[in-house]
């Protein structure tokens, strides 16, 4: 999957960018007791831009994601917190490629179950208050609009789990 243009917020803060993509997963960490309720709340607040978390703290929590991000970063001679690296990983398909390769736990689960983890590029079809109805590849899903408060029908967004994460520039008309 490739994208010709960057997101609307081209110079997004890398910490905020990472946390928005990974916040929905934090619930799984909570279920596994790898983080406690307080940490979960801190991650949520930081993802909303209402708090600050140290990079080292975040790397410790999302250790598997950072193991992969470091590999991506090394290949590009960059820092794992470089926005280009984060975008390549989350927005432009490397995260999905890891899932498709069936690394670790992914190998055990069915494709349908694994698909729930993928980042999708979707079009907003309708907006109902803070919920967006989006569509990709003929699939419709409802996601939370909290991270893209101005999203409206026709906009292109990425979605991860239950959240719309960022707006994408519209594809040029051909």
């Amino acid at each position: 999957m490739s994208v010709s243009a960057g997101p609307a917020a081209e110079r997004a803060d890398p910490v905020l960018y990472f946390l928005r993509y990974s916040y929905p997963c934090a619930f799984v960490l909570l279920q596994q007791r790898r983080i406690d309720e307080d940490t979960y709340r801190l991650i949520r607040l930081a993802a909303l831009g209402k708090g600050h978390l140290e990079k080292g703290f975040i790397e410790g929590i999302f250790s598997a994601a950072f193991r992969r991000l470091r590999m991506v970063a090394e290949g590009r001679g960059k820092d794992p917190w470089d926005l280009d690296v984060l975008q390549a990983y989350f927005r432009d398909g490397l995260h999905n490629a890891c899932i498709d390769r069936g690394e670790g736990m992914y190998a055990r689960f069915s494709e349908g179950f694994r698909d729930l983890c993928k980042v999708r590029h979707a079009t907003v079809v309708a907006r109902h208050a803070d919920v967006l109805e989006v569509e990709y590849d003929g699939t419709r899903r409802r996601v939370v609009a909290e991270f893209v408060p101005d999203a409206k029908p026709g906009d292109r967004v990425t979605i991860h789990h239950t959240y719309a994460i960022e707006k994408l520039r519209k594809r040029p008309r051909s």
């Binding site: 929905p24 598997a64 055990r108 689960f109 694994r114």
Partner: protein, 76 residues
């Protein structure tokens, strides 16, 4: 990242539901996916993301049970 652990809806109240995970209970939102008691679901970010058949849910739970610590830490 981010494979989810299935749970079962125990009760609903408007747009919230209590989901049981073994001995644990969590209150979640059903705003994205309306649910009824007894249904199996995966939750992410505090919202029900998808319903699952009982068969698929039990399969997924068994996979989590079988996984060792290293595997459990491999997704996020």
């Amino acid at each position: 990242m981010c494979l989810s652990i299935p749970g079962r809806i125990e009760k609903t109240d408007g747009e919230t539901a209590v989901v049981g995970y073994g001995n644990e209970r969590r209150t979640v939102s059903t705003k994205l996916v309306p649910c009824a008691p007894g249904e199996w679901v995966v939750v992410s970010g505090g919202f029900v993301m998808q319903k699952l058949s009982e068969e698929d849910a039990k399969k997924a739970l068994a996979l989590w049970d079988e996984a060792d610590e290293r595997e459990r830490r491999s997704c996020c």
